[in-house]
């Protein structure tokens, strides 16, 4: 019996080890993902994003409780930033989720953003998928809403909750960072602090001015996560959003769209890898790059030149087909 079978049988060690494969982006990733294909859409994905310290982990902790009270299982992917200087990271989200440390119906995994070029979103999404494939009814993804990558991750969630807190000016930051556009639900946490009413009023006005969907009015919910206030309302809203997505067929459409975009992403990445790899020793392409670099030619004309060069394209194709051969041998092995 192999590690994927073990995971399906509920072996936590096997599940953890599979998640490490994704985390480290080892060559086994495609194989693993193909094995869980049939099971990954069973669960529901909830994203939590927002400024550092706004209370995301505390909210997630309380959401876990709500889900467990319904006798359902939940996986959590908690993402924290990698230090660009050392490559290290402090992953501290678990601290707030200690109530569930020994609950077999809960599996929490921390993930560092690592410096990878877009690799994080795939690792995080796949982590969530494996958690769902392992039989979790919900998977919650927590990430600091600072960059595009983080936004990409939560945007793959079925319901995205944006967490703000009063008195920090982070609502303006959030609007600037574009995270308001991905919110299905907005939470104003730390509603015990002053400035809450003003923030809620501002948000309502803003939401009123730009309603995104005719079928969903983004609600603003005030919570005090540490005191369990507003939590039930939040969970009910998430459930409501889920029902609306299901009833309108949006959930199915969203999943379809995600499957295709992920597929295209992989194709794109593979092609790019092949092309970049083959260019190291292609003098014609290098010459074009040098001209672009020196400003002697504009990038559009340069690209035109590349695609107008039949020999160059042929060399790419050859490279690609040799790559396919290598891949085939690897799969056969």
């Amino acid at each position: 019996m192999d590690i994927v079978d073990k995971m399906f049988q509920g072996d936590r060690l096997a599940l953890a080890r599979l998640l490490s494969i994704l985390e480290n982006n080892t060559p086994e990733v495609p194989l693993v993902m193909s094995r869980i294909q049939q099971n990954q859409d069973n669960g529901y994905y909830i994203g939590f994003t927002g400024a550092p310290g706004s209370g995301k982990s505390t909210l997630v902790d309380k959401m876990i409780l709500q889900i467990r009270n319904n006798n359902l299982e939940v996986g959590v992917v908690a993402i924290d930033p990698t230090s660009p200087f050392s490559g290290g990271a402090i992953l501290g989200d678990r601290i707030r989720m200690q109530n569930h440390a020994l609950d077999p119906g809960v599996f929490i995994r921390s993930l560092a953003t690592r410096g990878s070029l877009g690799g994080l979103s795939r690792a995080a999404k796949n982590t969530a998928r494996i958690l769902n494939a392992s039989g979790k009814d919900y998977c919650i993804i927590e990430t600091v809403g600072v960059g595009q990558v983080e936004i990409d991750i939560v945007d793959t969630a079925d319901t995205t909750v944006v967490v703000l807190m009063p008195d920090t000016g982070d609502s303006i930051q959030a609007i600037k960072a574009g995270i308001m556009e991905i919110a299905d639900i907005i939470v104003v946490n730390k509603a015990d602090l002053k400035g809450t009413d003003q923030l809620i009023a501002d948000l309502m006005l803003m939401l009123h001015e730009n309603q995104r969907h005719s079928w969903w009015q983004v609600p603003v919910i005030a919570t005090q996560a540490d005191k369990n206030i507003g939590i039930k309302e939040l969970f009910e809203k998430i459930e409501e959003h889920k029902e609306v997505l299901k009833d309108t067929g949006m959930l199915v459409a969203k999943r379809k769209e995600q499957r295709v975009s992920e597929f295209m992403e992989i194709i794109e990445q593979t092609l790019l890898d092949v092309i970049l790899e083959s260019q190291k020793d292609d003098s014609e392409f290098c010459e074009i790059i040098n001209n672009v670099m020196a400003g002697l030619i504009d990038p559009y004309s340069a690209a035109k030149k590349v695609f107008g060069n039949e020999n160059l394209i042929k060399r790419w194709m050859m490279r690609l087909s040799s790559e396919i051969l290598i891949e085939r041998r690897r799969v056969d092995a």
Binding site: T82, L91, I95, L117, L276, C286, I288, I289, M293
Partner: protein
């Protein structure tokens, strides 16, 4: 040729981002067990470990052996670091080692903090990989962790 240099740079950057850095990053679980006073020290250590390039999962305080081992399994860490001030280490650490056996895992454990010299050997006897009593240069533990085998590259049945 600049182009070549540029592309070589790009692909080596990618290699770093995707493979080497990721395979070699040590993941460390840092924890405080039982009723063990404040956690200033362990938080500073977490930062030093981060600055050394480790990914540090901090569990927070008041952990039981079961909680520590459960978290270590979920996070699939390379090493468990237990920080102790209260003198309860001869209780909590052996329990953690036993719990590991019970769960069929053997992640290296290091212990740091207020530990009398006499306890160092005792801890090692129950299977602790290394002990760093207060006053030890933190770089010693950093070097120790760096040299540990990378669990993620090990096959496990």
């Amino acid at each position: 040729m600049y182009g070549v240099m540029f592309l070589a740079l790009l692909s080596s950057l990618k290699a770093i981002a995707y493979k080497e850095a990721q395979m070699d990053t040590k993941k460390v679980l840092m924890t405080k067990m039982g009723l063990d006073g404040h956690d200033f020290g362990v938080k500073i250590l977490c930062q030093m470990y981060r600055n050394a390039g480790f990914e540090v999962v901090y569990t927070g305080q008041r952990q039981t052996a079961e909680m520590v081992v459960a978290a270590a399994i979920e996070e699939d860490v390379d090493v468990i670091g237990i920080s102790t001030l209260s003198g309860a280490h001869m209780h909590s650490v052996p329990l953690t080692m036993e719990e590991q056996k019970k769960q069929n895992i053997d992640i290296p454990v290091i212990v740091g903090g207020t530990i009398p010299p006499a306890d160092v050997e005792k801890l090692k006897k129950v299977g602790v990989a290394e002990v760093f009593p207060t006053g030890t240069d933190a770089n010693m533990s950093i070097e120790f962790i760096k040299k540990l085998p990378n669990r993620k590259s090990l096959k496990r049945g």
